[in-house]
Each structure stands twice: as C-alpha cells, then as structure tokens.
Subunit: 210 residues, 2 copies
Amino acid sequence: MYSMPDWLFEFHGHKCPFVVMGYRLGKQALEKLNAGRTLNHEMFVFSEMGVGHPQGCLQDGIQASTSATFGKGQMHKLFYGKIAAIFYYPGKTPVRIALRNEFSDQLAPHEFFRLRKQGIEPSEIPPDVADDIVNVVLSASDEALFDYQALPDFSFKPVKGSFNKAQCAVCGEYVFERYLRRRDNKLVCIPCSGQEPAEHTIYLPVEERK
Amino acid sequence: MYSMPDWLFEFHGHKCPFVVMGYRLGKQALEKLNAGRTLNHEMFVFSEMGVGHPQGCLQDGIQASTSATFGKGQMHKLFYGKIAAIFYYPGKTPVRIALRNEFSDQLAPHEFFRLRKQGIEPSEIPPDVADDIVNVVLSASDEALFDYQALPDFSFKPVKGSFNKAQCAVCGEYVFERYLRRRDNKLVCIPCSGQEPAEHTIYLPVEERK
C-alpha cells in the first residue's frame, strides 16, 4: 500500500481523501517528468481546480509531495473546476494528470461524502470513516486513479525575481519594485496609490490549452 | 528560542529565513485571534505579497503554522508587494501583521542574501549560512519582527461549496457546476467552451483596504 509522511494531515488540517490523492498525483508527476522534489523554483503546477468545490484539498497534497508550493509561486489555479493539474518543468514535456471519472464514481457513495453533504466538517468525520476512505485511495493503483496526457505545446514564463524595494512615501512600509506606484510624483504602495492591483493569479494564455 | 516542526523545510523544499518568519507570523495571527490551527475552513489569509520578489516563501510558513492553506482555499494574494498578511476569522476582529522595516534592514547585510543576489539558489546556500540566518529569525522577539493592526472594517464572504458536477459533453471529464458552460445547447467545460475563465484569485474589494 502507498504511504505518506505523518505531517501531511497536520499541515492540511484534517484527514480527507483528496489531500491523499493530491499527494499521489504530485508524486506521479515527478515520476513522469523524471524529476525530484522541487527544492527551489524548478517546476510550476497549474491546477485546473476552482473555488466552491471541496476537492481543492488535492492541491495541498500536490504541494506536500512536490514542494511546488504556493508560497514559492509555483502553484497557480486555472479555475476550470476539474480535478486535474498540469506540470511544467522547463526542458521537459509538460504533463497533465487528471483524476479518472471512474475513480470519482467509485468513491462517491462512501459514508465520508454522505456525512460531508450533511454539513459535517472534515475534522468532525469519525476517524474510522476517514481512515477507511483514505485507505481506498492508498490501495488503488496509479492506473485506476489517473489519466495522463503530454502537452508539448504548453508553455509558461515565470516572472523574474528581484530583491529591490523602496519605502512607500505615504505609509512608510517597504514595497517591492514591481508594485511601486507613482502618486504626486512620489513612490507609493498600491493601497496608498488608490489604484487597483494590476495583477491576477493567472498568467497562462488560455488559448494554449485548446 | 522559537522552535518549528522538522517537516517545515521538507514541505517548503529549502531552508530560508522567510519560511521561518511566515511560520512565526501565522502563529502570531492565531494568538491575536485567540484561535487554533484552522482544521477546516475557519480562517482566511490575504497575503499582501505579489510575484517576482523572493520573500513569497513567507506564505508557506503561514500555511504550515495555521493550516490556512491554498488547497483549502484559505490563502489569497493581494499583489501589493508587501511582506504582510491580513487574517480574517468570522466573528473576530481581523488583524494585519507586517514585517517591520527595521527587521528587514537588520537581515539585509547577511551572507545569505549576498549569495542569493549572486544567483545561488536557496538549496545551494551552505548549510551553516542558512542555519545562521534562520537562527537570527528564531532568536528575535515578536515585537522586533512584527507590527500589528486591527482591521475592524475588513470583510470577506467565502464562496459556498457544492459537490455537484456534470460531465463535459465534449471531453467527457467531470466539471464542478460553477465552471460548467453552455455551448451548442450542451454543458461543457471552460477549455471546451472556448471561453476564458471568468474568475481570478482576488475576491476582496480593494476599497475596503483604504
């Protein structure tokens, strides 16, 4: 049976099947890319998940198994509402891994989801129920869980990093140069400038996915 | 001296001062809010960081100490380029915690940054250099590290979750209902619809921060 580090559920906050699937999905991606855990900023993940569906927990599993973290700017959301992710590693063929519909269907009747749909929070699900559904995920084969797709045309250019910063002339806080704005001929931060932030999470041209 | 779980650097991928600051910042937020680790979806974090500055590692520390994770939809970016975060917990007064300029200045001349600015990746920094700067962060008092601000007017409404999904009529993959689109009178996913995703990461009205 597949195994995971003890800290996975501590990090995530609760025990659920999706964080475990995500852990396995991330491991599979590293295997397909013939890469190790991304210690710095080598790999980028484009999660196809959105908001408002509880399967997002998958993304924490991916962070945990690959270290392609949100904090390091390696995890982005595409907002497609799908249980899938694209893994981009410069110099390698990008791979998309999706959870198989059949596995979703197999899991759906489980007591865990019956309780969740009644509004019971994941941390309040009885431990034997959570353990059981986690074991279903751990026992499944990679082939039962995932579909794979090479995406040779998928490309992405990460933003180049900079250590340069300046103090906002209004609030006095440090601001990194990319986010400095000009107001009354002074450099200020975005909230003090009265402007909206120009950036969003999604840098990927959508047409590249078609 | 402050201590952290062993898995923090394994999760993050490398040892750096910012993931440690973030860990402490998250712990401080929980203390100010009189709350424990957020096991489900109780708390939301609005990081003021952006992209293209290496201090983003802070956000992984916050995820690790609070379990307000990206995967669970509890970590959002405001793209202000500041080393600060707002913590929103329904029923409590939101708190903003920022890294003090003085602490940034104290840390700046360290060998760790000299090497980083030469292009040496965090995982390649000599262990004694990384340990030393981490110890500077661990030895500092909360007061030396952080500024606090209550934000009683800050508000946020998380998206209500749903388990409902349908198969895309074109690619056959499952799509959560929020992301289903209509094309030729059939329900399809966003990539198969040819439409751009309508959503972004930022749900927060910016005017509430002024």
